[in-house]
Amino acid sequence: MSDKQTSGDMLLKIRNLSAETGGVRILKGINLELRAGEVHVIMGPNGSGKSTLSQVLAGRDSYQVSADEFSFAGHDLRGMSPEERAREGIFLAFQYPVEIPGVSTVNLLKESLNAIRKHRGEQPMDAMDFLTMVKKKIKLVDMSEEFLYRSVNEAFSGGEKKRSEILQMAVLEPCLAILDETDSGLDVDALRLLADGVNRLRGPGRSFLVITHYQRLLEYIEPDHVHILAGGRIAKSGGRELALEIEREGFAAYERGADAKKAGSSRAG
């Protein structure tokens, strides 16, 4: 599985990352290294800081962040705006994708792709080429083309929202895709579709940070590394067997140490 990917260059390097919001410290010294082409899975109980980690990686400004090192492809993330991070290749599939009335999915995608291309010094994509490409990619998530012309996430079902995120990922072709509980709320078919999409996008140039509450996604996506996040820290790292251990025994063993902080913060993780 992880034979050749693990030899890729260092993509994301995090040392002693802390983050707080509204006076509540949520991340308390995260250490994580991720190389090009690797798939890392982060599992953890509710409130452990999983979503905070994804938001902090994407550059949400509502967190105060400190770290000894926080770099992506050689850039110090601390000085980068969310759009700069996106243009450098960080993509976040949101846990709760927001509705944008009146803005069609295809329009957002076109604006996004062209912003990224501009950053790379490339010309905007020809409108016809763009449409052809998007129509090809939409097959990946098994949705009709009509979906492209609907307003972003408006009146989408839970499953449609998640598929839309995967479609956007497929079109924007990031170096690092962060999937924030993209699997939650999906039935088995949708889950398989999601995993299929991810697997097809896997390659030496693309890494994944898959945040999940459940082990079941790992039946379809084979990870290189699994980390347990509890109480704002990586409590344990390992391979696929770690996920199976969680499946058998739950997070209880990891939660005990982190209980103290959990009480006050609502939905931090």
């Binding site: 400004d61 969310p82 759009e83 996106a86 944008i100 009146g102 329009n107 307003s151």
Partner: protein, 481 residues
């Protein structure tokens, strides 16, 4: 978080059309009297009936008081301090074609990105440009004339087609309608006149660019559009004004008449000087616009994008007199800094099975105050009348305001009237989502705002829709930092 302070910067911007053309003006001294009105009429070479009509309006105006019911605040206007007539100096040899037009004036349009001649050729749009009070160029006239369509300045219509002017002038907005309509009727300077004969479908968009240029000159445009039985016409109005310190009053009257099976579409993009960041200066825009669906199955549609003016007071309305007639109002109004807008529409259902649609989108930023004021009135005779109203407000930051004053009066039990309203703030979640996809904060705001306005923009003719989107972008430039 930090929503207010971040968004505020996006709202600050410079008014891009703030310059003054150096053309000598021949203006009347400030002040209003019967003498001034006689002088206006004489300068324009009007027939007697027109002068009488003006004087009648003036005498009525003297009995009126300024209205105060609108949700806007401003110091009292001194009507004796305004000059009621100005025109470019070369009065006698008024240009017959664009070639004769003062190059300085043409340059003004160039700066505004409205190259008349280019538009003429590229867009196939006939342009009747009003520079202050006198039309300086009318194009495509010959082509339109072949179809019997009259498209000219209002002054010319008074001289050349007095029978049509007499027949329709003041039949939609009577002289006595309101304070500003009476004032306009007394002193109106110029505007456009359109007549589309029976069964003719106007093959191009008719367009007029208004521009206020002379300091201290009130602008009193008068526009009259008549679509005879089975006729169709689409009319575009757009305007920008140069930067000024003192306030300028603008009180236009627009009348539309649609006879049996006729259709009139009237679109406006309004970008007059809104005043500076402190609320100094800017245009007072007190306008009366009304259309009457006089014939059966007639159709009148108003679309407006209002981003300019210090104060806007404007209610493009439709009187649905003919059976099965249709009235529509699509509006985007943006108020920023200290701008105030009180705008909306009146739909008066008189005929049977008349239908009306109202879509209003208000955007408030800075200290801007934005009010929607609408009346849906269904008379006893309007069996089967229907109305749908949707009224949405979008807020930036927490110092601006959105207000809604819907009035509904229904006298017929068979009527169906629907009203939907929403108020939302542009959210940090939406912005973050777009930024995470690579868009800058400003582009994200622009995308979201244009999405909010989409239902209105799609009603605009193509080239105008593009202009309107750009205008909103410019209007919100620097609003988030």
């Amino acid at each position: 978080m930090a929503e207010g302070s971040n968004l505020e910067h996006l709202i600050e911007r410079e008014y891009k059309a703030g310059f003054v053309t150096d053309v000598e003006q021949e203006s009347l001294p400030p002040g209003l009297s019967e003498g001034v009105i006689r002088e206006i009429s004489r300068k324009k070479g009007e027939p007697d009936f027109m002068l009488e009509w003006r004087l009648q309006a003036y005498r009525h105006w003297l009995t009126l008081r300024e209205p105060t019911w609108a949700h806007v605040h401003y110091p009292p206007v001194d009507f004796q301090a305004i000059s009621y007539f100005s025109q470019p100096r070369k009065d006698k040899d008024r240009p017959k074609s664009l070639d004769e037009v003062d190059p300085k004036l043409l340059e003004t349009y160039e700066k505004l990105g409205i190259p008349l001649r280019e538009r003429e050729m590229l867009a196939g749009v006939a342009v009747d440009a009003v520079f202050d009070s006198v039309s300086i160029g009318t194009t495509y006239k010959a082509k339109l004339a072949e179809l019997g369509i009259i498209f000219c300045s209002f002054s010319e219509a008074v001289r050349e087609h007095p029978e049509l002017v007499r027949k329709y002038l003041g039949t939609v907005v009577p002289q006595s309608d309101n304070f500003y309509a009476a004032l306009n009727s007394a002193v109106f300077s110029d505007g456009s006149f359109v007549y589309v004969p029976k069964g003719v479908r106007c093959p191009m968009e008719l367009s007029t660019y208004f521009r206020i240029n002379a300091a201290n000159t009130g602008q009193f445009e008068r526009t009259l559009i008549i679509a005879d039985e089975g006729a169709q016409v689409s009319y575009l109005e757009g305007c920008t004004a140069p930067r000024r310190d003192e306030n300028q009053l603008h009180a236009a009257v627009v009348e539309l008449v649609a006879l049996d099976n006729a259709k009139i579409k009237y679109s406006t993009v309004q970008n007059w000087y809104p005043g500076d960041e402190e609320g100094r200066g800017g245009i007072y825009n007190f306008v009366t616009k009304r259309g009457v669906c006089r014939g059966a199955n007639s159709h009148i549609s108003w679309t407006q994008v209002e981003t300019g003016s210090a104060i806007t007071w404007k209610y493009p309305s439709v009187i649905l007199q003919g059976d099965n007639s249709v009235g529509e109002f699509y509006s985007v109004a943006l108020t920023n800094n200290y701008q105030q807008a009180d705008t909306g529409t009146k739909m008066v259902h008189i005929g049977r099975n008349t239908r009306s649609t109202i879509i209003s989108k208000g955007i408030s930023a800075g200290h801007g105050q934005n009010a929607y004021r609408g009346l849906v009135k269904v008379l006893k005779s309007a069996q089967g009348a229907r109305n749908f109203t949707q009224c949405d407000s979008l807020l930036f930051g927490n110092r601006c305001g959105a207000h809604t004053f819907p009035y509904i009066e229904v006298k017929n039990r068979s009527a169906q009237v629907e009203h939907e309203a929403t108020t939302s703030k542009i959210s940090e979640d939406q912005l973050f989502y777009c930024m995470q996809r690579g868009l800058s904060r400003e582009d994200a705001v622009s995308l979201i705002v244009n999405g909010f306005c989409k239902a209105v923009f799609k009603e605009l003719p193509m080239e105008f829709a593009v202009e309107a989107q750009k205008l909103l972008g410019v209007s919100l430039e620097g609003a988030v930092g």
